[in-house]
């Protein structure tokens, strides 16, 4: 039974989709950019303060 399954796997649409080199490159670049940008996304702390790239700032400092 298992051998049968291996010989004829259920083909899902995702498996059938062709992955191009261009798609891979775009994904890699996307991840990298996200990682860099995360450093500069302000994190709310307390009393209207934000933490961004290690700096603890007032929101008005970001104007």
């Amino acid at each position: 039974m298992f051998e049968e399954y291996i010989r004829e796997p259920v083909k899902t649409p995702a498996i059938e989709r062709r992955v191009s080199r261009r798609h891979v490159m775009q994904s890699l670049l996307g991840v990298s950019a996200a990682a860099i940008l995360t450093k500069y996304i302000p994190t709310e702390t307390r009393n209207g303060l934000v933490e961004i790239n290690g700096w603890i700032l007032k929101r008005s400092d970001l104007a």
Binding site: N47, N53, G54, W55, I56, A63
Partner: protein
């Protein structure tokens, strides 16, 4: 009286009531109190009256866990002990440092600050201190705290004359007490090694190891092993709960209102959290040392700030143009959570020249300390932003949870715990009077009795505790 050899001391016929091991700040403070009370006391100092390579060799040992200093470098084995290389920074542990922190297990002392307060006048005389200025809260969360950079009293130099002329105090140099013998109720004798060989045993009514925050554990562990538990009958905590003050560069700050606090002669100021803030953030105590930075360093951090807050950076750059002090580095030293796994043990492989097992230090910083470091800096940064004292940047390695830098100070050479004070015999070695649980005549002096460490340098507090111990011994030995 000062004897340069054990033989000369033996020939003198001096009969002590109290035997102190070690002539550092704790040992000499206890001895001076006993001298004032007219009680004969001998101090056995393993080293001579100056540094020698041969003496330091006895302090060699190994460390397991986090990087730490070589054990023969981080302390000194001669008259005056480690006071011969301390920096002289003084502050007494705060009232809240003696209290338990319910969010961290095994914290807190069985005594309070009020128990050592009566001795602080004497401590000022011993350490040549000026009066402490009061701490000033800059917010409900952060206090600008006062720390005296004293002349760093070298106990050997300061007290040599008094010891030489005293008829109650005998200081015996080059005499190493390798072990104490005990019967489970009392110490019965001390074994002495001098001039390259065993010299037999000596006795007194009371025994007080003051050999330092590593060596007290080593001496008692070895003594207890040799006496089959007869020296420290309740030994579950012996050598354990050892602590340091880890110290690392934690970030930097651009100062916007720098006239709100003063820096000292070397451009430093110190800050600590309030007890309420520690409770709210569930952190241990910490000290933030703000060191004003040179012009070029200021330019670098303003350039970094410009990436995230251009207007703020432009303002700061303008101030730099006026060549004002407006940037600083932040160093953080903090109180460790007391952990039974941080401990001094006896080496199974290596012994010193007197055949005593060398010390092995097992020391590792915990996750609680990561939290103390990061949340403590956030607390400081938030206060500085809220009251417009400046803007703080936390170092990347802390934010990213990276390894502790290996090229920084590491710690303060503050050796605490190992024979900690407490009421629970399973988690402490000495009681609130510094007497070893279950023993009638064995006391311990020095920072090895610290139950938790606070954030400040330990010498002032340990000298106060030693003065208190000397006072108590004066009464029981009279």
């Amino acid at each position: 009286m000062i004897f340069s050899s054990f033989g000369a001391y033996r020939d003198s016929g001096f009969t002590p009531k109290v035997m102190i091991m070690g002539s550092g700040p704790a040992g000499i403070t206890v001895a001076m109190k006993l001298d004032a009370a007219g009680i004969p006391v001998v101090i056995f100092e393993a080293g001579s009256d100056d540094w020698t390579e041969e003496s330091q060799d006895f302090y060699k040992g190994s460390t397991v866990g986090d990087p730490y200093f070589d054990l023969d470098i981080t302390r000194l084995r001669y008259f005056g002990g480690s006071s011969n290389h301390w920096a002289g920074w003084c502050r007494v542990m705060d009232k809240h440092d003696f209290a338990a922190k319910p969010w961290v297990p095994d914290t807190g002392w069985p005594i309070g600050r009020e128990d050592i307060d009566p001795y602080l006048g004497e401590v000022h005389d011993i350490l040549d201190l000026e009066d402490f200025r009061p701490d000033l809260p800059i917010s409900g969360q952060i206090r600008w705290v006062q720390l005296i950079k004293s002349p760093a009293v070298r106990f050997g130099e300061k007290f040599r004359g008094q010891i030489e002329t005293s008829t109650n105090v005998a200081l015996v140099l080059n005499t190493y007490v390798t072990e104490l013998a005990g019967d489970g109720r009392k110490v019965t004798s001390a074994k002495v090694w001098s001039e390259g060989r065993e010299q037999g045993t000596v006795t007194a009514d009371f025994y007080v190891p003051c050999t330092g925050g590593l060596e007290n554990s080593r001496l008692l562990l070895w003594s207890n092993e040799r006496s089959n538990g007869g020296v420290v009958p309740h030994a579950a905590a012996l050598g354990r709960y050892w602590m340091e003050h880890p110290q690392f560069e934690g970030g930097n700050v651009i100062l916007t209102r720098y006239d709100e606090f003063e820096v000292d002669a070397v451009h430093e100021a110190f800050f600590s959290p309030s007890p309420e803030a520690m409770a709210e953030r569930r952190i241990m105590n910490l000290g933030i040392r703000l060191i004003e930075a040179p012009y070029d360093y200021g330019k670098q951090i303003i350039a970094d700030l410009a990436c995230v807050a251009p207007d703020m950076a432009e303002w700061a750059a303008g101030m730099m143009g006026l060549n004002l002090r407006c940037a600083a580095k932040l160093y953080v030293g903090w109180e460790q959570a007391p952990l039974a796994t941080n401990r001094v043990t006896l080496s199974l492989l290596d012994r010193d020249h007197a055949n005593v097992p060398r010390a092995e230090l097992h020391w590792k910083k915990s996750e609680q300390e990561r939290r103390t470091l990061l949340e403590g800096l956030r607390l400081f940064g938030e206060t500085f932003a809220e009251i417009d004292f400046g803007r703080v940047r936390i170092a990347d390695w802390i934010l990213n949870g990276e390894d502790y830098p290996a090229d920084q100070e590491l710690a303060g050479h503050h050796h605490m715990g190992g024979t900690r004070m407490g009421d629970d015999v399973e988690k402490s070695v000495v009681d609130r009077n510094c007497k070893v649980h279950g023993m009638d005549n064995l006391y311990v002096g020095g920072s090895s009795v610290f139950a938790t460490s606070g954030q400040c340098n330990p010498t002032t507090t340990l000298v106060a505790l030693a003065a208190r111990l000397g006072d108590q011994l004066s009464k029981v030995a009279a």
